[in-house]
Symmetry: C2
Subunit: 574 residues, 2 copies
């Protein structure tokens, strides 16, 4: 008698993304799973889970026909690039590519064009799928990527192919339309690489963080556990009947893993193409969207939108804010505009896939008054279950839980990236002493909550002290005359560096630099949140604050154009 034990179907049963995809297809084949709205035409398309899965199978068959090779542990499969917005087609690529064993590389189309080019050639993308809007961008770099990329696939809501010298160029719908609606998703090894995500490269070239099927599977399961542990009295526990809109760009670190958590949860997923305020409001009203996640700078767009009250946004109960601190002032303003909605913050980075810390209400806080709870909801938060997160001082020792000693956030856990693609030196700079080093500075309070005070590269070193710019920014944002604000260090002959606030006022405001300093004294210094020497020595009131490719304030662009900002700045004399 043959004796086998089948570890591949038991103790080593692989943790694969296909498990997420198969759940809604099996439970709810005929229910609407995806709604896509073209942000230019406003046209809607809807797909049942069975339809979406059939299209995903067709795509997997097409990839096979294009010669795409699967990977194995330690050996990446072919890289498949996407230059795409938040569409049903991008969701098909999110599953068809990794679930057939290849590696999904979502090109960050908001990077500088030289960085876009760098990531495609560094990743050696074998096939490049791109939305119609990115045709000019692809054509502009075509001569420098045509030896790397073996096939180009054009994706559009309009039928047919455009005139182009790109070749070979396929039309997505024609390509998948020719394929079978069945695909036998393989039982890959769970260590097969699934995605390649490049950092936004504030200095040097973008670095490619690699994630395995296992890492993404485990992030998803732990995020679902986190949702299940929720104690926040004002936040509904998510269920299968949520209607999430994925507003975070899907070319940006797995769109914060929403394409995985929401598919496994069988929630109807709403896709807005790209974020526009009117598209956002139209989708919330039409689809009764309940959950969304955005970067803080999107909140300012919503606050400025004059037609917001024309829409019924009452279904929206939860807004996750990441990619930057959530200032309490901004939270209060947006919750006044959309009364049933509660905003809370989270933290992560490309290398942590990204979610690693979120504002989490502990159970004994349930009955606290709203004002006190809001103070917790805007903290960076507590580690996601399953992730180890600590704050270490310069000697590698845990900082005290005193809410003021600053250290660097270090992490380790099942979904931290193991290495950068083809870049052992950069890997060694972040992985040492048993921890991944984030380069973010934070304090820890007595309940264990982290508060990010700065990037190590952004913190202002004034004399022997550090001025945490995020702390200043958060206080400034509570001023009702401020729409957006950031703080950067500028050279100073005496102190080394001094702080400059760069501020955009709310429409119609006539406040001046002096008013901002007075506000900071009253709300910051007198309330003990900052000390007097941290006050900005310069205030520049501007029409626009430069932003990065993912919508964060770009301190680098301010520093690179410092003369322009200094020219607008008012010096504060005491």
């Amino acid at each position: 008698m043959e004796v086998r034990t089948y570890p591949e179907f038991s103790t080593h049963y692989p943790l694969l993304l296909k498990t997420f995809m198969q759940r809604p297809v099996q439970l709810y084949p005929d229910q609407i799973g995806l709604v896509y709205r073209n942000h230019t035409t406003g046209a809607y398309q809807r797909f049942t889970w069975a339809q979406w899965h059939a299209r995903t199978c067709r795509l997997a068959n097409a990839l096979k026909k294009l010669g795409v090779q699967p990977g194995k542990p330690g050996e990446p499969g072919d890289r498949i690039g996407t230059m795409a917005l938040n569409t049903h087609r991008h969701m098909e690529l999110y599953y068809a590519v990794p679930c057939s064993g290849a590696m999904l590389h979502c090109v960050n189309v908001r990077l500088a064009i030289e960085h876009v080019l760098y990531t495609i050639t560094h990743a050696e993308d074998k096939v490049l799928f791109f939305d119609d809007v990115f045709l000019p961008m692809v054509e502009s770099i075509y001569d420098r990527i045509k030896d790397t990329v073996k096939a180009f696939v054009y994706m559009s809501d309009q039928p047919g192919l455009p005139e182009s010298r790109i070749e070979p160029l396929y039309d997505y719908e024609t390509l998948i339309g020719a394929e079978e609606v069945q695909f036998d998703w393989p039982y890959l090894h769970e260590d097969t690489y699934a995605t390649l995500c490049y950092t936004t490269a504030t200095t040097g070239q973008p670095k490619g963080a690699m994630f395995t099927q296992r890492a993404l599977y485990l992030q998803t399961l732990h995020l679902i556990a986190l949702a299940s542990f929720n104690n926040d009295p004002q936040t509904e526990q998510p269920g299968e009947d949520n209607v999430p809109m994925i507003t975070t760009p899907m070319f940006h670190i797995h769109a914060w893993s929403q394409p995985y958590t929401y598919v496994y949860r069988c929630a109807k997923i709403v896709l807005p193409g790209t974020f526009t305020v009117d598209g956002f409001c139209d989708l919330v009203q039409t689809e009764k969207v309940t959950h969304a996640a955005v970067v803080p700078t999107i909140l300012a767009l919503l606050l400025e939108y004059e037609d917001i009250d024309r829409y019924d946004l009452s279904s929206l109960v939860s807004l996750g804010v990441g990619g930057g601190a959530l200032p309490l002032g901004l939270k209060e303003k947006i919750e006044q505009r959309i009364p049933k909605m509660r905003a809370s913050s989270g933290y992560g980075m490309t290398e942590t896939a990204p979610v690693s810390v979120t504002a989490f209400i502990k159970k004994h806080m349930r009955d606290w008054p709203k004002e006190q709870l809001d103070q917790v909801r805007v903290k960076t938060g507590l580690p996601v279950p399953g992730m180890e997160v600590e704050v270490l001082d310069g000697d590698g020792v845990l900082v005290p839980r005193d809410n003021k000693t600053i250290g660097e956030i270090v992490v380790r856990g099942p979904w931290v990236m193991e290495k950068y693609y083809k870049n052992p030196q950069k890997t060694a700079e972040v992985w040492y002493g048993d921890w991944f080093h984030t380069g973010d500075l934070a304090t820890v309070d007595e309940e264990g909550f982290l508060t990010i005070v700065d990037r190590m590269s952004d913190v202002i070193r004034s004399g022997s002290e550090m001025i945490p710019t995020v702390l200043l920014e958060n206080i400034i944002a509570t001023a009702d005359f401020v729409l957006e604000a950031t703080v950067v260090g500028v050279p100073d002959p005496v102190w080394g560096e001094k702080a400059m606030a760069v501020v955009k006022l709310v429409s119609g405001s006539r406040k001046e630099a002096r008013d901002l300093i007075d506000f900071l004294k009253a709300e910051g210094v007198e309330k003990g949140k900052i000390t007097k020497w941290m006050l900005p020595k310069l205030v520049a009131i501007v029409d626009q604050i430069p932003k990065t490719s993912v919508g964060k304030f770009s301190k680098r662009l301010i520093r690179n154009n410092l003369g322009k900002f200094l020219a607008k700045a008012v010096e504060i004399k005491e």
Copy 2:
């Protein structure tokens, strides 16, 4: 520059039970984590999470001093036996043993004494921890286990050691009291074996199912995900502020994984020693218990308990029922007694750790009337997310979703056991053709819900047809004059086998065999649930139905004492 990538802290970060233990200790060190009530004296003991963890650390240090060796993948660490009820000490063993690398073997103390002896010697338990109540049992087998077991540890709420010839014999509290309150929990390999669970052995010797740290970790995470996906309008989503009572014996398959899910969830855990109706009611009232899980036969004890109305049981909202089908009639009766509580069913077996299928309300069922929802809640259910479960006919083909074709349930997934300890032949009998074969027979309805109709060994083969006994039992249980019922096959010269119903009536009932058959005709045959030839040909009304070590009806004991039951049986003539 040294280049390391730290897979052990990223892509291979091990999935370990210590992660669960550390969460409440870090978040809620000073909150009550465990409440234990001595079921004999009624005395309560309460422990904060920090206190419980300190005791667990002391225990791990004590194990080390006793020479307990950790295992590695493929090579079990020392087996540590427990003969214990649901106490805080058993919860300490549940974590200290596997988290220090050894293998926890919870001896099923309700097995026949020869089977108890067999499991201890087959497991080669190096240390045996036992509750005071099991001293006579240990003494009775001492001579036959003393060469295997190197140390015995006595656990009691009373201080000191009893007179005994057992040696070496340690007192638990003295043993751990001498140790340090710190223990550096190792980063084991996730494939390290954590537990060894013996089957209840309805035929032959018990078989030892082995589970790794990874398997138990993944079961826990998927069960939490399942709770998060919950759509049942009458069941509250669980949160950290649940108060679960672990009524399922902890010597029985990880107590259905509650010691893992509830610790990770940071819920206050209530431990009743062993189940008694008055202890159950006292604990629910005192601790405001919200959740409990029981076998169906416990429900009958609660229904019969005359003093139940003296207690305030209004906190109890959810009762999970497993280890046997939940008859709709029984569900209705218990929900009338405890009005806020909702009972629903689940399914699993020793080899699946155990949870693999649960009654799950799909989202489009939310608005169904209660009667229709209750029909779903008593089905065996849908596969737990992450687990593949199918029903195959004799040719290994999926049965149609017609709610009537019977096949065998097969499973595969991350927490199915890979093999039996030291038993390759029995392993080969259950693992073949890429599936673990459960030996349970079921039908599948059009929504994909399984309904177990029988064990393969219990199904009645009448002519060329199968009579599914569980189906008959479920209908019988809806009769208001029936307290408990089971159906077994007895030899028949014409048909091979025929069905005999063995029934215990509710107190004071004067119904007779004929009434039962009339009831089955009206509720079963006329409503199309069974066909006429399935009707029992014999009905035995008895004072007690024999039960197994885990409280299920024992069909084997009825078959072994068939003459006794036939003597009481009335033959039904048509």
